[in-house]
Symmetry: C2
Subunit: 406 residues, 2 copies
Amino acid sequence: MTPRSIAVNGRQYGWPSRPLVVVCVDGCEPDYVTEAIGLGRAPWLASLRGRGTCITANAVVPTFTNPNNLSIVTGVPPAVHGICGNFFWDREANAEVMMNDARYLRAPTILAAFADAGAKVAVVTAKDKLRALLGHRLRGICFSSEKADQVTQAEHGIGDALSLAGMPVPSVYSAALSEFVFAAGVALLERERPDVMYLSTTDYVQHKHAPGTDAANAFTSMLDGYLARLDALGATVVMTADHGMNAKTDAFGAPNIVYLQDLLDGWYGKGTTRVILPITDPYVVHHGALGSFATVYLSTERLMDAAVRIKSLPDVGLVLTRDEACHRFELPPDRVGDLVVVAERLSVIGTSRDRHDLSGLDAPLRSHGGLSEQQVPMIANRPGADLPYRRWRNFDAFDLALNHLR
Amino acid sequence: MTPRSIAVNGRQYGWPSRPLVVVCVDGCEPDYVTEAIGLGRAPWLASLRGRGTCITANAVVPTFTNPNNLSIVTGVPPAVHGICGNFFWDREANAEVMMNDARYLRAPTILAAFADAGAKVAVVTAKDKLRALLGHRLRGICFSSEKADQVTQAEHGIGDALSLAGMPVPSVYSAALSEFVFAAGVALLERERPDVMYLSTTDYVQHKHAPGTDAANAFTSMLDGYLARLDALGATVVMTADHGMNAKTDAFGAPNIVYLQDLLDGWYGKGTTRVILPITDPYVVHHGALGSFATVYLSTERLMDAAVRIKSLPDVGLVLTRDEACHRFELPPDRVGDLVVVAERLSVIGTSRDRHDLSGLDAPLRSHGGLSEQQVPMIANRPGADLPYRRWRNFDAFDLALNHLR
């Protein structure tokens, strides 16, 4: 006997009446889909017009991968689940640390809760950095494309990820890393028929290619083909994104960067302030750790002076105090600096010039992190039942799927 | 004897040492240039890397054509020159009126001032709606592509615009309307050698085609070819834009519209509030009069209630009172409503559903008007001389050209 619904983090979710696949397409600016549809490269997505659902939802700011993936799988914002970046400054430990360890997660996931209630649950993610968080206390299948050759039944709930997907382990910087997620997802749905599946890709392609360009259309076409197969296998499919993506360059393709730590060092002296870029993670070749969101730790007496100076900088769109930012973006105050700085749409924030290696950027920089990457698609292959007129969030994906679709 | 410099609206401009051509490319999101360069479709623009200047400047909000063109040719924001939209509500006349009559202009143009000081000045604009404003009190050549067959020496300073450009009068909804501007500009530079020329295009192509797509690349390629000829003829060329351009749809291509007048009518009753869309003008087929900026007239007692309600709407990014908006965006308070509403990046604001004809939209809506279209390119074919690190505005184009280039 399965329950009719379960409660997770204060919200009730109906039990899936057919397999549910929630897909988080990393960096899926809505225009990637629109342009591909316009050119006939996404026939399945195009076929949903009329029979499916398409919402423009708001992602979590900072518009980065980990905060949004964790919001989607918990159904709540970072203020509740705690993961507000890839990276933060642990004040108690006096250290800059990666936030990809499950001990930083403060809320249970919808995935684990369904598994505990008897559902069969599977998770496939492109990069291994997300696996520990997405799979926290999950009794089920959970592995990454990146380390698909290292899975064990004991740790990942599956012993044969490579043969399952029918692909070799892709490069961590490739479109194939995402394709592996879909190939594995389709095979899992065929073989294991999980009740709930979560698939999460990587934005390698989106960091390099604008919507409507050949490489972007090829990616959306690939994605479209796999989603069509999930649909044909009888699943409810809800596709959303962790964030959008924008060019971050001038017209000649040179990145618009404000090196905030260098400026602060010039104003107040080295070692007096600390700029944290929550985009920082071990995989920075395709974006040089440059995103449109930063947080700054500094002393109280410098706070207002610094806020005024930073606000006047070219490339800066918004400066908020910790309280303002945590209220507006629903962030955990103990993991946010004294100031939050958001860049303008086509600009990014760096720390010090010598701490960013831009040699890996072989295309004009495209990135995310700011308010300008907040609007993302939320698409379903079934129609909604009187969908409320509200500001939908990408972390309403399970709510939409289980409580609002016909 | 010509003066060494002239003063206009509080700023000193050096006398041009060679012909100066300032080009305002309507709706030129910087990525149009970046993508075209990447595909080898803009060799002249690409050749400026190293020898020229490229700045990401801020346009005037509302990011519409008239406020920005007038800011560029006066060197000051709408708070000074008065043109804050195509359209406004004249409270004294109790009428919604077009703001394309020169009587609404409160500041002299740099163009007219140079002509008065003895310079030969020429202006070519795509649509005739801008001609009267750009040519206000200008002793020189001033005509539009749209009405190039109706020019007279007496009124336009030229009697043969059609044979000059060597093109027939283009459709008002075409890429050719902009090409005519460039063709005429090159011919004028060859034949008349004006000291100062201002060329202003239309964003018909940009409203339909995203950066990197074939039609967009073709437009940038056309533009690149004409700018190369201006350069080869010895002119200083400064190219900027009135605003950027963004998709305004969901992933399926349906416009994200908040019909603000309908909502206000529902809350407070018909006839109690008035939503003004400053994008409104006679040429709305390609955007349905839908932009990301609106201003609302309503009674003082409803102000805060309405602000709170509007702020909570999906698609709305920012709500400001008149004072806040006029301070932040440098707008004339007597031509702005009690509230200013700015949409999120991928959304637009409508009045009432039945007042927008979307039947002319044959492609997913792309538009402008909001903060998300504020960053524009400012490109020159000469290097800067110690350019200050500041927030450049597109209306610094003449300042850049005449005071800062080598």
